[in-house]
């Protein structure tokens, strides 16, 4: 699937895919970090039938809905026999100090014992991300760990 990026000078960027049906679906990511979900009209493919403003958390939630849940369900299934091991997803909020820094910078593994097994961004899943993976606001981090470890991880990615 090809992501098509179009710069909107002064405002932000539009990222979209063209579906098999010919319709465009994507997001407009504005400078201030806010987002719009866009869906093209059927009778006029240049125009948008909908442009729905999304907060970072809402966008992350939709991304997760589209990309991460199968992964989380699968992992939870696999860990069913291991008591105390959980899988959870966290949205990297705008205020997080790790926005635009690498996964390695968080030292999540060393500091909480939990590990990031996948990152979902705009519905695209990056499995087993490397420490050099650069985090963006709105990324959904799929983390595996004990419940304390997950609590600590949530705290860490939000507040550093």
């Amino acid at each position: 699937m090809n992501f098509e990026d179009t710069s909107l000078p002064g405002l932000g960027v539009r990222r979209e895919i063209t579906l098999a049906s010919g319709r465009r679906v994507g997001v407009v990511i504005l400078r201030d970090g806010s987002m719009q979900l866009i869906i093209s009209q059927r009778e006029d493919p240049d125009a948008c039938a909908a442009a729905i403003p999304l907060s970072v958390d809402e966008a992350g939630a939709i991304g997760a809905m589209l990309g991460a849940p199968q992964l989380v369900t699968q992992l939870t299934d696999q860990h069913r026999d291991l008591p105390g091991v959980n899988t959870q997803q966290f949205v990297l909020s705008h205020e997080s100090p790790y926005v635009n820094r690498t996964l390695g910078d968080t030292s999540l593994r060393t500091r909480t014992g939990s590990s990031v097994v996948a990152i979902s961004r705009s519905g695209r899943v990056f499995p087993s991300p490397e420490p050099s993976f650069e985090l963006n606001a709105g990324d959904v981090l799929v983390i595996v760990g004990t419940s304390t470890g997950l609590d600590n991880a949530a705290h860490l990615i939000n507040d550093g």
């Binding site: 179009t6 710069s7 909107l8 000078p9 002064g10 405002l11 932000g12 539009r14 979209e16 049906s21 465009r24 994507g26 407009v28 504005l30 400078r31 201030d32 719009q36 866009i38 869906i39 093209s40 059927r42 006029d44 493919p45 240049d46 125009a47 948008c48 909908a50 442009a51 635009n100």
Partner: protein, 402 residues
């Protein structure tokens, strides 16, 4: 009552009045610029109440207003966007310039306002208001439309063209010789090139120099740098506004977005003052005489802007409805046209009639532009549908619900 007391009361009344006007504008979803102009007209010479006391503060405040307007405009763009914009759509930029500069300049020549008047009026009719247009497109949910990047890239080029146009204008208004004017434009061009290159290369470093986690400190450094650069540019007769614009471009990334946040309220305050002062200096009784001319000019330049947008969108492979949307979106003129007219009026090199014409013209198009943009779709739909129905269309695939 002491003089200070009168000034404070007058200023308070003006800002309070602007605030109320601004809220009214927001209610109708329109730009407050036309209302600020009307506010200024009411309180100036020949208006309802003559507010003479604030002229001293008003002048310096409006000067700062222009600097902040352009600084924030520069902050909106990254150097990369400007360079790609320049590469990708320079031809559309030239078409835009020729089609929309000519009517204003032509009218000024017809009126016998000379070369200076033509340069000023050409600029007034040429520049669309990127502020108004970006806001309208985003309010109407058209940011995802295919024609929107076409519109935005034309706006980028216009804003970039200002960096060459304003120095040329300042030089002409100052009565510099042709050679002196060339020198000024040369300096401006060199400065733009240096700033673009520096911003591409050292953007993060420049930003770090200005950036500070402490808001107060950050604001002081920003304003200080802006006024300093603007002052230096003005000393070189390159126009203070252009200096601020270039500084804005040089600041990038997260520094730019936090700078926008800190500066926005200040810009709104000082820019409002700028529009008011422009209105104050225009005698409202001169407007009725130029109104027919302003309406004619507004109609002609609306048509030329539509033509520009339709042509550029067609070149980008956009369908007919999208071409129309792109064309109509470009109609709105606003803050920049007033900046140009304001510079001209302040220099005293143009007639009062020109100021009245520019005011009436911007009042018309700042209101008409957004309204037309909103209604182009529903109004043109019946006509366009007839056309598409007469041509054979593929039947909708079955079992697909929309």
């Amino acid at each position: 009552m002491g003089e200070t007391a009168i000034i404070l009361i007058e200023l308070g009344a003006v800002f309070l009045g602007l605030g109320l006007l601004g809220r009214m504008a927001a209610k109708f979803g329109m730009s407050p610029v036309p209302l600020y102009l009307i506010g200024g007209l009411m309180f100036g010479h020949g208006g309802l109440i003559d507010l003479g006391g604030i002229s001293e503060f008003g002048e310096i405040a409006s000067e700062i207003g222009v600097i902040l307007l352009l600084l924030m405009l520069g902050l909106e763009y990254t150097a990369r966007e400007l360079v790609t914009g320049l590469k990708g759509s320079w031809f559309a930029g030239i078409v835009d310039f020729v089609l929309n500069f000519t009517p204003g300049a032509g009218l000024a020549l017809l009126m016998g306002w000379g070369f200076t008047g033509a340069l000023v009026m050409g600029g007034v009719t040429y520049v669309s208001s990127s502020g108004i247009i970006a806001k309208v497109l985003s309010d109407l949910g058209r940011l995802g439309n295919r024609e929107t990047p076409v519109v935005l890239s034309i706006l980028v080029l216009e804003d970039l063209a200002m960096a060459i146009y304003l120095p040329a204008l300042t030089a002409t208004l100052a009565g510099l010789s042709f050679l002196g004017g060339l020198r000024t434009v040369g300096i401006a061009l060199a400065a733009i090139t240096v700033v673009l290159l520096a911003a591409l290369r050292f953007g993060p470093q420049i930003s770090r120099l200005i950036h500070s986690a402490d808001q107060e400190n950050f604001l002081l450094k920003l304003i200080g740098a802006a006024l300093l650069v603007a002052g230096l540019a003005s000393a070189l007769q390159v126009s203070a506004a252009v200096g601020a614009f270039l500084l804005g471009i040089a600041i990038s990334g997260s520094t730019a977005s936090s700078a926008t946040k800190v500066l926005e309220p200040l810009r709104d305050l000082f820019a409002a003052m700028f529009f008011v002062v422009f209105g104050l200096n225009t005698d409202p009784t001169t407007i009725p005489a130029v109104l027919p001319m302003a309406i004619g000019l507004a109609l002609v330049t609306s048509a030329t802007k539509i033509l520009t947008g339709v042509w550029a969108a067609k070149r980008a492979g956009i369908g007919v409805p999208g071409r129309l949307r792109a064309g109509v979106a470009l109609i709105a003129r606003g803050e920049f046209s007033i900046v140009i007219a304001g510079l001209a009026v302040a220099s005293g090199a143009v007639t009062g009639e020109l100021a009245a014409l520019a005011t009436a013209y911007v009042l018309l198009l700042a209101v008409l532009g957004p309204v037309a943009t909103r209604f182009v779709e529903p109004l043109s739909k019946p006509f366009l549908r007839k056309r598409t129905q007469s041509s054979p269309t593929l039947p909708n695939p079955p079992l697909v619900t929309d």
